[in-house]
Symmetry: C2
Subunit: 409 residues, 2 copies
C-alpha cells in the first residue's frame, strides 16, 4: 500500500501541445498488459536528459547518450517495461538500435532521432520480435491526452501509476508541464533517476534546458532512496515543445527562467516523492532534513546514511523510537572530522538528542507518538555550517523482502 | 538459525597462561543472564586494539583510546552487554570512567590500566549502580578456563556464542591463541569490528602486536558485513601474555612472525565468519571474491556493493538466480572508469556472465542449483589488474526485519 499517494485522474492531467503518447500491449514479459509506450515530439522542440551513473548501464542508456550527443533533433522516445536490456552484451546493443530503427522508419525520421528506454528484469535478452511487432500499434494510438495510460505502461513493481501536471503563467501566458515516472525498488538514483519523463509546451533554449534538467534531477530524483540500489537504467528526460504562447525561457535568472524552474522542480519533486510513497513495501514516508553542514555534499552523505540504514528503516517500520540508530548512521556517514558533541536530533517537533546525547527532557512517549505517524520528518542539525539538504525515503518492511524474493516469479 | 556454525565446546577452548576471565549476572538489561565479563591480563603482557571509525563512537571506545595512548600497561578489560553507552553525552563518559576506577580499585591497579567495552541498545544511560554492584562477583569468579562462559556473557542478538582456539608451534614450542567475539546486526566493521577479543601466550613486542592487530582485523572483521551499519562500539583487542616457552615474536617477516600471524589470522577469520553465519536472520553464508582489480581498495568497494545490496541479499534468501542484480551492484560500486564489457561473473563453478553479458551457455537451472546451497561463492572478475579481495556476508530475510523491528521489546 503506497503511503498517501493520490491515484492520478486522467481528467487532471494536461496534454502538452506538440507531444503525443501511444501505448500498446506487446507481451514483452506478460500478456494483456500495457508495456510499450511511444512518445512523439514535434519538430522544433528541445530535449535534455540525465542518466544513471551505474557503470553497468543498460544498452538503451548507451544509445540515448550517443543520440543526445549526436546533436540531431530528438523526435521520439520508445519505452518498454518487463525487460531492462541490461547485462545483455552486444545482442542488447543491437536490439536497442533495432528498436530505434524500426520506430524511425514508421515515423519518417532518422534512427538517431529516437531515444530508447527499457525497464524490468536484468540480464535477459529483450524479446525483440514482440517489441517490434508492438510498435505499429503504439504509433497508431498516438494522441495528446494519454498521460495516465502512459504512466501505467511504464510500471514494473509500482502499485500505482505516477503522473503530475502543473500550469504556470510566464509573461502572462499559460505554460503546461506534465510528467510521468515509474520505480519502486532498485531506487537510489545517482545524478539521474528511474524512468522519469516531463514534457512542457514552454519554449526553452537547449543550454537552459540542459541546466534546468540537471537542477530538477538534483532537487527531486537525486534526493530519494528506497533501498540504496542504483539502477542500471535510470533516465530522466525533459522535452520542451515551445508551442505555448509564452515568451521563451532563455536564461536561468530571468523572471521567466525562475518561474519556469520553480514549476518544473515542483513537478519533478512530486514525481520523485511518488516513487518513495510507492516504494516496495513502504508503510511510512520519511523526510530527512540535514542542516548546519559545511556544504550540501556532507549533508547529502548524512541523509543517505540515515536513509539507507536497514536498522533505521526497520525501526520506522516497527514504529519503535530506537533513535540511537539514527545517531549511529550520522556517525558513519563519512564526515572525518565530525564532532558528535555538537549534534542535535529532532523527530518532527520533538528534540530527541542535544549535543550528541539523549536530551534529558526527551520522553519515550513523545518519540513513540511521532513514530506512529505515516509521515515523519527526521531533522539532524550538525552545527558546523550553513548548508542544508533534504532527502526522502521510506521504511523497510517484511513486504520489501517478499516483493524482492518473488520478483521474477 | 545460524548457517553451519558449530556450537563451541568448553573442553575444546584452551586457557591462555596469564589471562583470567570472570563472569557475573549484573542485571544490566535483563535479569538472570550473564552480562558482565572481566578479563585480567598478567603483568608483562602486551595489548593492542583497533576501534570503530564511526564518528559517533561510544563513551567506552573513547576511554579505550585514551588509555591505550597513555602507554600504561593494560592489566584488565571490562565488558558489559545490554547497553552500548553510546549517544549518552557527558554522563556516559563519567559512567565509563567510574567503571574503570571501580575495577582498578578491586584489582589493585590504576584506572587507566583498564579498557572498558559496552554493547547493546544505543542512547540510553548505563545502569551504573547495577554494573558496579556486579564487578566484585565477576572478579571473584576469575579463572583461566572460562572462555565459553565469556563468549556467552557478551552476546546480544547473537543466537550462539562464538569462540575459537588454535595452537601453533613456534621455535618448537606450543603457543595458544584463544578468542571470542559477538555480533549479529549493525555489522559492517570499518577498520575495526564488533567486540572481538583474542588472547595468546606468545611473547610479542608492542610494535609487532600493533601491526599484527591491524592486519588480522583487515583480513577478518574488516571483511564482513551483515547489514552495512557500522556500529558505534566496534572494538577488537589482542592480548599477548608472553607466558609460553616459545621465542618472542619480534618481527613480521621472521619465521616466528609468519607462523604466528598465520595462526592469528585463522582465529580472527573464523571468529569474523561466525558473526556472518549468525547474522540476524541469515539463511545463507555468501563468500564474495572480487578478482582482477587494479588495487585491493576497488575490489573491496565492489565486494561491499554486492554484500550490501538489499536486492542481491533478498535474491539469495529466495534462492532466485536473479543475478543481473549482482552486475548492477558491480556497476554502482564507485569505480569511475569501469568497463562493463570486461566483467565476468561466476556463481561457484558456474560461468553466468562473460564480457559483461549473460554467457550464451549459461542455463538458469545451473544458477538455481547453486542458489539453493547454504554456502555460495560469488566470483567477480574485473579483468583490469591483479588485485583481489574476499569478503563474507549473508542473505536478507523476513527474520532480519522481525528481529530489528522487535529488538528493544
Amino acid at each position: 500500500m503506497p503511503v498517501n499517494l493520490k491515484l492520478p485522474v486522467a481528467a487532471e492531467l494536461s496534454a502538452v501541445a506538440g507531444l503525443e503518447l501511444g501505448i500498446a500491449e506487446a507481451g514483452i514479459r506478460k500478456a494483456n498488459r500495457k508495456d510499450l509506450l511511444v512518445m512523439r515530439v514535434a519538430a522544433g522542440s528541445t530535449v535534455s536528459g540525465v542518466f544513471t551513473q551505474n557503470r553497468f548501464c543498460a544498452a538503451p542508456v548507451t544509445v540515448c547518450r550517443e543520440n543526445l550527443l549526436a546533436k540531431t533533433e530528438i523526435r521520439a522516445l520508445v519505452i518498454n517495461t518487463g525487460n531492462a536490456n541490461a547485462g545483455t552484451g552486444e545482442t542488447g546493443m543491437a536490439n536497442a538500435r533495432a528498436t530505434c530503427a524500426a520506430l524511425a522508419q514508421q515515423l519518417g525520421i532518422a534512427p538517431d532521432q529516437v531515444l530508447p528506454f527499457s525497464t524490468g528484469v536484468i540480464m535477459e535478452q529483450l524479446p525483440i520480435e514482440r517489441l517490434l511487432a508492438g510498435l505499429p500499434k503504439a504509433v497508431a494510438a498516438l494522441r495528446g491526452d494519454a498521460w495516465l495510460d502512459a504512466a501505467q505502461a511504464i510500471m514494473t513493481t509500482d502499485t500505482q501509476p505516477k503522473a503530475v501536471s502543473r500550469q504556470v503563467q510566464i509573461g502572462g501566458q499559460a505554460v503546461t508541464i506534465s510528467g510521468i515516472c515509474k520505480g519502486a525498488g532498485m531506487i537510489r538514483p545517482n545524478m539521474a533517476t528511474m524512468l522519469g519523463f516531463i514534457a512542457t509546451d514552454a519554449r526553452v533554449s537547449q543550454h537552459v534546458l540542459d541546466a534546468l534538467t540537471k537542477r530538477a534531477a538534483d532537487a527531486s530524483f537525486n534526493s530519494i532512496t528506497v533501498d540504496g540500489d542504483t539502477s542500471t537504467n535510470d533516465s530522466f528526460i525533459i522535452m520542451a515543445t515551445g508551442q505555448s504562447k509564452a515568451p521563451a525561457v532563455t536564461g536561468l535568472l530571468t523572471p521567466e527562467g525562475k518561474a519556469f524552474a520553480a514549476a518544473l522542480n515542483e513537478v519533478a519533486i512530486e514525481l520523485a516523492q511518488a516513487i518513495v510513497r510507492d516504494g516496495e513495501g513502504a508503510t511510512k514516508f520519511i523526510t530527512v532534513k540535514v542542516e548546519g553542514g559545511r556544504d550540501a555534499e556532507e549533508c547529502r552523505k548524512v541523509g543517505y546514511a540515515i536513509g539507507h540504514s536497514p536498522l533505521v528503516k526497520t525501526a520506522f517500520f516497527a514504529s519503535d523510537p530506537n533513535l540511537g540508530r539514527i545517531l549511529a548512521a550520522v556517525g558513519y556517514a563519512g564526515i572525518a572530522d565530525l564532532d558528535q558533541t555538537k549534534i542535535d536530533l529532532y523527530l518532527d517537533d520533538v528534540l530527541v538528542a542535544k549535543d550528541g546525547g539523549r536530551d534529558p527532557a526527551y520522553k519515550e512517549e513523545d518519540g513513540q507518538r511521532v513514530m506512529k505517524q505515516s509521515e515523519i520528518t527526521v531533522r539532524v542539525v550538525l552545527n558546523r555550517g550553513d548548508a542544508a539538504r533534504t532527502l526522502w525515503t521510506c521504511d523497510f518492511s517484511h513486504e520489501y523482502v517478499s516483493i524482492n524474493a518473488d520478483y521474477r516469479s
